[in-house]
Amino acid sequence: MIEQQAVISGTGISNVGRRLHQDPWSLTADAALAAIADAGLTPEHIDGLATYPGATGSTPGITGAGVEDVRAMLGLKTRWHTGGSELPGQLGSVINAILAVGSGLAEHVLCFRTVWESSAQDQLGGRSATLQSRAAREMNQWYEPYGAGYSTYGALSMQRYMHESGATRAQLGQIAVNARANAALNPLAVYKSPLSIEDYLDSRMISDPLCLYDCDVPVDGSVAFVISRADSKLIDRGRAITFEAIGSAAGLNACAAMMWSRTELKPSDVKLAELYDGFSILAVLWLEALGLVPKNKTGEFLQNGTRISRTGQLPLNTGGGQLSGGRLHGYGQLHQACLQLRGNGDTRQISPRPEVAVVSSGTTNFSSCLLLSRH
């Protein structure tokens, strides 16, 4: 499979926080240069760039830097690049990089994602101002006359899931409680104060049954990876992360099925899950789509939160996810998976060090997943 021709050779992250009011290009440079150095490379070696969603047609908050911004800033000489939003999930940009490396177009692709939503909302006068774009109007006509928003989608999904499965808020709330417990040990996480299940149950409803703690938090920050040829002589193969399989099919179930069809590994081999949690219900849907929990059984699986804790059978979102760590749009989850697989998780490192991890991004037909290992 083509994904086995590529590895993650380096990973880097900038400062992450609420309203940093720091130049998003500067944040991007912090992450990119850290990732390149982590790979044992210099910017001269980078010959490809991949990002989501790119600067064209996006909003100032959703895109802190585009391909051309980074190429010019780092003086890169690229043979291939891509930056776009119509991808299979935010990590579709990483899949693009894998394809470029696997097909021989590039040797070392820098993948980056810079979010600046927190400061952009401050500067542009609120969330709605950052979402105004002509391209969105065709789709928005189905939402705006009804007063629907992003939270509506999460709430409808959660309500339907609770109806079909019988899961309770006290069970599903463990996703948020677990994320907060892990965030407490992540210096870059934005929300670290303790959160109990009682706090969760008492919190303000945004869109019943979706409460405040079910929603991720916009932040400023940048994450970068270097995707290199697996046979590159320049990288330290011992530290590289292997792509066992990728899923890019539209829809969570199809995406997961595609991934499993490309490997001998099984869901029972997964010892770490870093799953997209733009809303906590999305992590639930990914757990089931990936076959990590039987359909409609996640409520029971989450009971008391022990199974998904760092010492449980399936640690989940060890950096705090997007709920407490901040919305790094799937790139945060992939960064945490790399740390854990390499044993660089510091005080939140799970033990024994996991051999196989799964990472997912996006929802509905905007979906991708990656199966990773240290082999």
Partner: protein, 130 residues
């Protein structure tokens, strides 16, 4: 409560104007009868190009719903109910809509509802009530 009116485009105008006579019309494939929403110029089932707007009963059941508590639209005062209504004519024919003329806490999944229209500017916006 004054809703924002949708932009009327050639692709969708017939849907948004349908309620003028009190009837909901859905884009329907003339070859195989498949109903598609939002309206598109090709049938995803049989790829026929002959799509026109045909009346439906206006009856449906609530597939999922939420009580929105947050001021998402400057002109719409929360709380109000957003719902996915599955039309009785076809499974998977689901409209995102509001549930009106009903206390927000009385809405349930599986509740039968029927269409009514809210006239805003040049549009008749389909909403549903028990």
């Amino acid at each position: 409560m004054q809703r924002p009116a949708p932009p009327l485009t050639p692709r969708t105008e017939s849907f948004w104007r349908s309620g003028e006579d009190g009837t909901l019309r859905i884009a329907t494939c003339q070859a195989c009868g498949w109903r598609l929403h939002p309206p598109r110029p090709v049938c995803p089932n049989c790829h026929a190009r002959d799509i026109s707007f045909e009346p439906v009963s206006g009856q449906g059941v609530i597939h999922s719903f939420t009580i929105n508590r947050y001021q998402l639209s400057p002109s719409m005062q929360p709380p109000y109910v957003l719902a996915e209504v599955e039309m009785i004519e076809q499974k998977s024919l689901i409209l995102l809509t509001n549930i009106v003329n009903c206390a927000v806490e009385d809405v349930r999944i599986g509740m039968p509802v029927s269409v009514t229209f809210d006239h805003v500017e040049d549009a008749w916006i389909p909403v549903f009530q028990p």
